[in-house]
Amino acid sequence: MMRLEPQPGEVIDRGRPLTFTWNGRTYPAYAGDTIASALAAAGERVFSRSLKYHRPRGLLTADAHDPGCILQVGDEPNVPGAARRVSDGMAVAAQGAWPSLRFDVKALNRLAGPVLSTGFYYKTFIRPRRLWPLYERVLRRFSPGGRVPAAPPDGRYEHRYVHPDVLVTGGGPAGMAAALAAADLGARVLLIDDQPELGGHLRWGGPDDLAALTELRGAVAEAGNIEVLADSVVTGRYEGGLVAAVQRLHGSGSLTERLVKARPAQLIVAPGLIERPYVVAGNDLPGVMLSTAVRRLIKLYAVKPGDRAVVFTANDDGLAAAADLERAGVDVRRIVDAREGGGIIRVRGRGGVRAVECADGRVVRCDLFVTAVGWTAPTALVTMAGGRAAYQAGAARFVPAELPEGVLVTGGLAGDGTLDELVAHGRATGQDAALRATGASGGGAPISSLEPAAHPQLFAGRTDGVVDFAEDVSSKDLKAAVAEGYDSIELVKRYTTATMGATQGKLEAVNAIAVVAAATGRSIAETGTTTARPPYIPISLGALAGRNYQPVRRSPMHDWHVEHGAAPLVAGQWIRPDHYGDPAAEVRNVRQHVGIVDVTPLGKFELRGPDVPDLLELLYVNRWRKLAVGQVRYGAMCTDDGVVLDDGVSGRLGEQRYLLTATSSGATGIGEWIERWLQTEHPDWRVHMIPMTDAYASINVAGPRSRELMERLVSGIDMSNEAFPYMRVRLGTVAGVPDCVVWRIGFTGELSYELHVPSGHGLTVWQALLSTGADLGVRPFGVEAQRILRLEKGHLIVGQDTDGLTQGFSAGLDWAIKMDKDDFIGKPELAWQRVRDSHLMLVGLQPVDRRTVPPEGCQIVEDGGRIVGRVTSSRFSPTLERAIGLGFVAPHLSEPGTVVTVVLPDGGRVPAKITPQLAHVDPEGTRLRV
């Protein structure tokens, strides 16, 4: 056992023991343990296999960035095991190793090492191209990562929007001080930290650090206007100042993760520093750790990281780590200080550290090799925000060089200092941010400078070692890439995949740059950095999806349809009744008796004002000025380029009151289209457009007996053919509901009335129609029956029988387009289309074999294969008992009686005859006018 006696700042709760399983075996843990700390306490050292060569990997950083400790937890793959805390009964397993972590056959890749050279995949699997699917299947077995669950995982993911004055990311001493100072000035502060508790490096410091930590934490807890998000990571900074953070709540309640979308007035970036690994042969053996890793293990989790250690350091933190190791009972065999000329040649071992070979020739046997060779300042958020990072050779790190508007930095990212200096810098930065955010003044108090401390440039030894632990890229690979001509760091990155793994450069970017710089003979500053892009850390898809709310629109009769077995049809956001079991029977019932259909999604707009006729004349290709009160008319609209935009029936309800209808799918767009013309082109017109789509439940009553049915329910309207002829509108009371609009139109080709009923009474009227008309044979019909009925009648559907290229004269609208009108939208283009004769024509089609219905979208060809048209609509007509359709054909084939060739999806060809007109049923329109 490697568990130490209680440590002063430990985060584990020894009063709450837990158990969990690791690869099937049960292990103990304490509440507060991470998976990695609990396993390390039990003496486990190997947690995964490396990506390419399947080398055993242990802990390197012992925090969320640890590339050697990505694990499967239950159904959840790719869990950072050194960050996720153990919960009781948790089942943890290694990923990607087969058949077991101890004996992994894929480690044979190691023998093939020389073959798996840089760019191996690019070079090897590029040809023959037709074999790629096979390559891909095999390669997938060798790809890293856990098992993606087949079913959506349990758990709840949410989004939350916040608008703090100041957002501080990083809850170390400087971050906490910044939050406190900003809050003191009245700013609303959001403080985000990736650890379960605030404190940063103070948490593994000495007694003074722990005392300061207690004081700062206490002050933050007491401040009224600081909200702390622990266990949360800022993942990116986006346009408009949007800052995204993932808050992890695993095991702490009903919520799993939350994506927090913040728009702070000021962002203070205070992530501290990230310790860099050292590139040398054997640097990925289990037992090679960073100085911060061993200090975390000892101080936070009371875990002894090894028994015998060699420490290689270039700074005082390495010495502090050595002291911590000794206090923890680790035999520190040797401290090699680079500042005194010490060096390391290689780490020896197989499956774990066995010895370290020093530059002076001494070989020291040990099981733990600790490095402290420098720090990386995570400048990603600064550069994502538009700032710049520059290399400071004296400090051996990139530092923020230019700060964009609204972004400030403090703590280790800004520079180094004593605890007091860090806190003072944090306070001044917090004050400055608060004053900027609340607009109190142009800027706050002057911020004392915090300079990065001098540090030797120490990146790689004389031997080659791993640079990118996540992608298994070595310094040898990088040198090979340079030798092959990839001399830009961005190209080296893409060619070798260095910095492209889960760590995203946090550990390896600077080392990679240093290796490339050395190989190209340039300086690190000249070599430059790769571009940091969001997300900063891996994010679960669940967090991105959130609750995934999908808007749904329902008509007032929706529940009735569901209760009566309607098959749902998702039409945009609407859910509509497609049919109630047998659409063909529904069609026959409309033709023989009477049917009712819910057409509530129909776009409806009330137009008011003296200038409405001017608007209608502009919007529609046909004439409207003489429309009298009580009349309705079919109208078609085109866009500026003459393409058919929408169609529908509009009516004049009063002297200055019109109701315009648009297609269900086009409704929202048409509302915006009308507003656009009114607001930008004709603000002088006195017209108000009021969207009424949802204000009316709309019901079409269709069939030869529809008048009889209507007469029983309507009051205040004379329903006789003489008093209420075709294409007229009346206002009245239906089934006791006043203020209904009733118009007589004929989309189905039958005598029919469309009712627009105040929505709250829609269901009442719907049910009244059904109960009152039972003896007349009234039945509901769905969207599918309506589509068949309109196709039998030859009425086009905009968007189905037209597309984004169909101009007015192609859609058979010649009769409606009035080129002698002064102006209308699309007129110039239509004038041009009319004088060309090459455009496709919409025609009626009847397959010669009456039982063959060519699916919609089938091509029409001639001369063996040249495409000359397509089928836009097709159905089997229950009325004619034959296949019918609409389609586009080239003009030379549009003559009635022409037989064209339709290609079926299986390649078969069937002849179809062009009909004299679009209508297949009742082309004379007698049924409409009875």
Partner: protein
Amino acid sequence: MSELTITDCTDWTKVLVRAAPSSALAAALGTPYGRATRAADGALVVGTAPDGWLLLAPDAPAVSIVQRVATQAGPEFASIVDVTHGRALVRLSGTASRGVLAKVCAVDLADAAAPAGAAIRTLVAGITAMIVRDDEPGELSFLIESDRSYGEYLMDVLLDAGS
């Protein structure tokens, strides 16, 4: 003061008014765009656009509101339309109401950005909606108005977000 209460107010009377911003009617209504005020008769007048208002009243019949506004409008061009049936209306009250809205709406509803009487046209869970800060005595409260067909969805979303 309750933590969270959700009430379906879809049966409230709703009257849409359109008139020029410079009109006498606009002056009489006295509510600028983005604000909501209570009229003498108790109706909530919401400025939904520079030239648009939505009048919300729990029990007054639409006819009486339409007539009153028509009288105020006089001969100037104005449209006064009963849209009671066209809109869904939900009231969300209590200390947690702001937190619930923060899960489905990107706008800042803190006191500084949305004080009592603020009216904000925005997206709520992907649908166009109007949020009116309409505090009740001693209680934080928001009215949320959307197209009626989204009503059930809006209710479902708020219940889910507040669960």
